[in-house]
Symmetry: C2
Subunit: 429 residues, 2 copies
Amino acid sequence: MPAYADMTTEELAAKRDELMREYEAIKAKGLALNMARGKPSSAQLDLSMPMLASVTTYEDCLAEDGTDCRNYGVLDGIPEAKRLMASMLDDDADHVIVFGSSSLNIMYDTMARCWSFGTLGHTPWSKLDEVKWLCPCPGYDRHFGVTEAFGFTMIPVTMTPDGPDMDEVERLVANDASVKGIWCVPKYSNPGGVTYSDEVVRRLAAMPCAAEDFRIFWDNAYGIHHLYDAPEQQDQLLDIRAACDEAGNPDRCFKFASTSKVTFPGAGISAMAASAANIADVKARMNPQVIGHDKLNQLRHVRFLRDAKGLAAHMSKHAAILRPKFELVDAKLTEALTEVGGCSWSKPRGGYFVSFDAPAGCAKRIVALAKDAGVTMTGAGATWPYKNDPADSNIRIAPSLPPVEELEATLDVFTCCVKLAYIEKLLRE
Amino acid sequence: MPAYADMTTEELAAKRDELMREYEAIKAKGLALNMARGKPSSAQLDLSMPMLASVTTYEDCLAEDGTDCRNYGVLDGIPEAKRLMASMLDDDADHVIVFGSSSLNIMYDTMARCWSFGTLGHTPWSKLDEVKWLCPCPGYDRHFGVTEAFGFTMIPVTMTPDGPDMDEVERLVANDASVKGIWCVPKYSNPGGVTYSDEVVRRLAAMPCAAEDFRIFWDNAYGIHHLYDAPEQQDQLLDIRAACDEAGNPDRCFKFASTSKVTFPGAGISAMAASAANIADVKARMNPQVIGHDKLNQLRHVRFLRDAKGLAAHMSKHAAILRPKFELVDAKLTEALTEVGGCSWSKPRGGYFVSFDAPAGCAKRIVALAKDAGVTMTGAGATWPYKNDPADSNIRIAPSLPPVEELEATLDVFTCCVKLAYIEKLLRE
């Protein structure tokens, strides 16, 4: 079979009719499938059930320093929880604050603090005429939602296989003091699965910024979320805070992580790591906001996951469940779309997503077709600020939630929709 | 014995020497006692231990509508948790949002939303030259900390036995549109133990305010925290939201509560109730901040406390532990200070505090003396905005944490310090 782009109009029309029959047959099945969000599957959640029974007696409720975790206090987290989260954040416990169950909430609050009060004595961003923010694309829709909430002007930045295009980033930050920061998912990025190269990390840390209070929001959401156990099949990420220290910009980054996709989304623990000055500033600002976060849940996590080694062993069990799904996505897309041409997709070694690039102008149509056939995808455009993908090309595939058989059915619907939308486009041109 | 105020200088000097010997003897004991914060005692925390084992199996993790509470989602709380918190808030579940473990955090965030984005389309308070806030005094230091963080001008308002002095409040809000709200702990207030009268509640709801976006922050922290079981010994509070509805100001109030002093401080659940318009506004603003709060902890609370009846039965157990402590405070103060004169204190029927008024100009000295003798009290002035009690008179007594024997020892130290400070003052005059 020739690639669609090489077909004659007649061949395309015949192919379209064939695909339309296939599509109508799928629709008739009345499916209700969902590949929209990066939610762990039920089998993954089952892995952490023993954690729920790990803190039930009085003795269980005592932290290693004797603190009764059933009572008020401890603003920044109990020592053992700091250590556990430090191992996830690739940092040391002294530079860590443990928060509640949501790292999104930490990022929002960190942004809100910079906006309301300023960071380390700098002018609050709310007092400025305009704040601009760099958004490597495709990226995470909820990140863009935070910067949109505060009215920032979001500037898309091209993602390369090594991370954000640093020539572009350096140019944007060099002379414009209203550019105050950048969103980064530096490892197994959402949705591209990209891990930033050492050079990209070093350039981010060292680049001259017109804004003295330029901040890197480093959401290391998938730092330990490998799909493969062998070290040579796992991506490695240079630590941004060490790089910032080395470059003489120690306060430039805030690092974030959570156990949402380690134990239970919405019922995990989350944490931030940053320079000593940033940590002191954040703690002073947290003081009127909260007395302390849920220490019993911190204890549950420590008792169940223990340390870096325990975390790695646990994540390996997640990988065993996720790996076949990611391999199935690649196999199904390869089988259905290689000959068709015009499409590309990521083959990540970790994280929660496959980034799919359809022929330009087709993404919205594909998602609409899928929806009509009973398959909910992440909205087309969601991976761009203001939901505006200028090429209308990128679609985020989230294979984690459905069981394998369902995922297979979902991908059959998806590839049928891709082909149909592509032919429609070619026939219009 | 005559009251101190009626003694001659010689009598006072002799008494001072006697008290100083008593004080030095106390100091020599090297005590380390704490009556500073409203923390539940270990015995109270023990009451909720069964809750920790109430959600351990897969079936336990399912909400009544089938939601798997181990995964992402449900921004505003699972239905059964909304109902439970509605019963605490004296409201209906449709008007409730369930949050994380801290009601202080909800209040801070609610203030931050008004400040950053405005409420219901009104101008964000951050855009105004000045925001003023009414602070009934004595009041809760952490409330004042929130309004101070946002740079509001805090205006102390006199507390009467029926609640804030409404003539004063009505005068302050009538013509000044920069007065944007008031802090209220309307039942068993912190620290005075006052429950607002029906008339005060109705006047707060109905008073004409120059600011259209005037907001009552109604922190019903002690709504079910009675010290006595007999209904005639329990205070009753008129519902502010119903009163606001009736007065034609439905959006004027935000109500807050938590289970911090029901189950575990810092590991409980918290909630807000408000008008439908306010709830919709808050939910829209929460959307970029968080995906959902800890639903497993919501389930734990529902399974353990069940409903209003279960809550009342549980609170009665707390009361049995707290009641003797409050009665001891009153007995010890009466015994030591009635003859001395010049002092007064509250005799609350619920809540966590006794409000103590020393002779003017003595509070700081009393707390300093107590500290030197090994007893930590809430800082003098803490019950006023900017920690500035103009009379230097009010001290908050928090009897909940220490066991009864320790509390007795603590009160002996305290009353000795009160007498000493009072005599020093009289000798100066």
